[in-house]
Amino acid sequence: MQKFISLKSIPTYLPLVNIDTDMIIPKQFLKTIKRTGLGKNLFFELRYDEKGKEIPDFILNKKPFCNSNILITGKNFGCGSSREHAPWALLDFGITCIISSSYADIFYNNCFKNGILPIVLNEDKIKEISEYSNRKEEISVNLADQKIIYGNNEISFEIDPFKKKCLLEGLDDIALSLEKSEKIKSFENKIKNQRPWIFND
């Protein structure tokens, strides 16, 4: 997995609440058997009209936001379907950091599997930072220090220490879990005794 250490970018502000994963990447793009190439279809129905032409007013179609790496957005981002195509599409577009006041659980977890940092801030701070999107000015995110730096200000954010470590080091969590193979094996043996129907195939 790609590491996340720090980032500097003009943020894109999309002030909608409850953005669901259908909106992030609609179903017609879930027919792929690959993880890559979804960026061009990110927010498809907001970005393109019915004929497939770019809607010039939509923020991600405009410069400099089409090159933005940070998305600031409304609460409950990523609700709905579990599709990991949503973070894949964001990543493929170039977005590796999201700032919102809350996320849906499955989406939140999926971000960490793909080197994307989802930051939780309160709504007042989000409004404050979104000004940098309006003014087209860069902000910086530093994961090691857990800080967002904007202008002469900075703000700290919370993150689970284990998730932070995985992002900073780009760790493969399957490899980490496989290190516990012996424990898994003894657990399986315990089940075979206590709940034999689990393996009863």
Binding site: I33, G80, D105, K180, W197
Partner: protein
């Protein structure tokens, strides 16, 4: 210390726990389908890993399959490749698959319980957010992403942090014509689409206990629409009777031992819930959604909200946006909303009891002439059962199309979709913008309400069609 049902299942599946509370949880049952698994298998191959316990995973193609004549295969090339990729992956890694021509094929959350693969006290996961459905059996069941699917395939475990305990009590008796779909829509309206975020919901109370197994599945199914990944219900005799004799259920002495263990799956008296909400069943009446989030609910007697009465600016904007998308004027009566399509099916309401409920309303009645209506059974076995009971004839005589099983117009990945501005009364679970087709407008309802809408040609009160 007293424990909740969720606490007990969690503790029973702990393989390892780090100091910070991050746990490695054993997964007893893993369901996979064609859309969220190909990249997981590709990942396994790229890192030379194998599937640790192939017999604990069950595969079925559902999201992408055609619901019309299947004899010629899948005409959409991408869908075809995805379904064939699932077949090839299952063959390579030794995983049991119900292929498109198998009568056991169906929506993954209908097939699992039907086969007895779903069992109480287990941890069940699937790369699909509606996995919570299986919680109706007293299992801890939740949706996961594709990277986690790969993790389960490789290790038969998941890295998890414990969620909070949230109990929703529903007591009393439901009035005639009101179903478990109305109960869960009412709950989502009450707690909001993020109300359950970070929680596992236990549904309790005498109304919940009085529900059939399939009605319970409808409630647990839509838990994710309230933001919680998992919803569960204490298992009881109804659950054991449902599972007895199913192909993958335990047999003989093992069955007796299983029932003994399952009978102890409950929340202890005095166990702690971080959050609790209560509803009275008698107060619930048939519900419909008016907007583009499952929390946008009103009763069939109600009217669409007016943004001008909303003081919170974000909420006002959100209502305006939804009304515009839905093509609705503020204060429109629910019963005045004319519909173009009716969809009966999905993992929420595509089981035999759902079809019976709709057929009961449609018997000897015709759908309105301008309405296009279809029924998509949840599985091949549901379809077979419905045909044995003659339900297919009732639907066809009413003017419905009788289709092959799959997810169909719930998410419109196959050819079944709404055209822009078409309005649908749907028994599915999501009314998001574009969910049933770009520009399509969805009103979520129960199967009986969908049948009533088909007859009247507009959203209507199922209670007027009760015999």
């Amino acid at each position: 210390m007293p424990h909740t049902l969720y606490d007990k299942i969690w503790n029973d599946h702990l393989v390892h726990e780090q100091d910070d509370g991050t746990a490695l949880l054993f997964v007893d049952r893993h369901l996979i389908h064609e859309v969220t698994s190909p990249q997981a298998f590709e990942g396994l191959r790229n890192s030379n890993r194998t599937v640790r316990q192939p017999s604990l995973t069950l595969a079925v193609a559902d999201h992408n399959v055609p619901t019309t004549d299947r004899s010629k295969g899948i005409s959409d090339q991408e869908s075809k490749i995805q379904v064939e990729t699932l077949e090839a992956n299952c063959k390579e890694f030794g995983i049991k698959l119900f292929g498109m021509d198998d009568k056991r094929q169906g929506i993954v959350h209908v097939t699992g319980p039907e086969q007895g693969f779903t069992q109480p006290g287990t941890v069940i996961v699937c790369g699909d957010s509606h996995t919570a459905t299986h919680g109706a059996f007293g299992s801890l069941a939740f949706g996961i992403g594709t990277s986690e699917v790969e993790h389960v395939l490789a290790t038969q475990t998941l890295v998890q942090k414990k969620a909070k305990n949230f109990r929703i009590n529903v007591n009393g008796k439901l009035p005639l014509g009101v179903t478990s779909k109305d109960v869960i829509l009412q709950i989502i309206g009450k707690i909001g689409t993020a109300g359950g975020t970070g929680c596992v919901i236990e549904y309790a109370g005498d109304l919940i206990r009085s529900l059939s197994v399939e009605q319970r599945m409808t409630i647990c199914n839509m838990t994710i629409e309230g933001g919680a990944r998992a919803g569960l219900i204490e298992p009881d005799e109804k659950i054991f009777n449902y599972l007895k004799g199913r192909p993958m259920s335990p047999k003989g002495e093992t069955w007796d031992k299983a029932v003994e263990v399952w009978s102890n799956l409950n929340s202890d008296n005095g166990s702690h819930f971080d959050k609790e909400v209560s509803l009275t069943a008698e107060e619930i009446i048939p519900m419909v959604t008016w907007g583009t989030s499952p929390q946008d609910v009103i009763t069939i007697e109600g009217k669409v909200p007016n943004p001008n009465t909303e003081k919170d600016l974000d909420k006002k904007n959100s209502i305006e946006r939804s009304l515009k998308y839905m093509g609705l004027k503020p204060d429109t009566l629910a019963k005045d909303i004319k519909i173009d399509k009716v969809f009966i099916g999905s993992c929420t309401n595509g089981r035999i009891e759902d079809l019976r409920e709709a057929a009961k309303i449609l018997k000897n009645k015709k759908k309105a002439s301008h309405v296009h209506a279809m029924v998509v059974p949840g599985s091949g076995l549901v379809k077979q059962q419905a045909e044995q009971e003659g339900l297919d004839k009732i639907f066809i005589n009413s003017g419905f199309e009788w289709r092959e099983p799959g997810c169909s117009m719930c998410l419109a990945m196959n050819a079944d979709k709404l055209k822009p501005e078409e309005r649908c009364a749907s028994t599915s679970n999501r009314n998001f913008e574009g969910r049933q087709g770009r520009g399509g407008r969805t009103h979520l309802v129960s199967p009986g309400m969908a049948a009533a809408a088909a007859i009247s040609g507009n959203l209507d009160d199922v209670r007027k069609y009760q015999n």
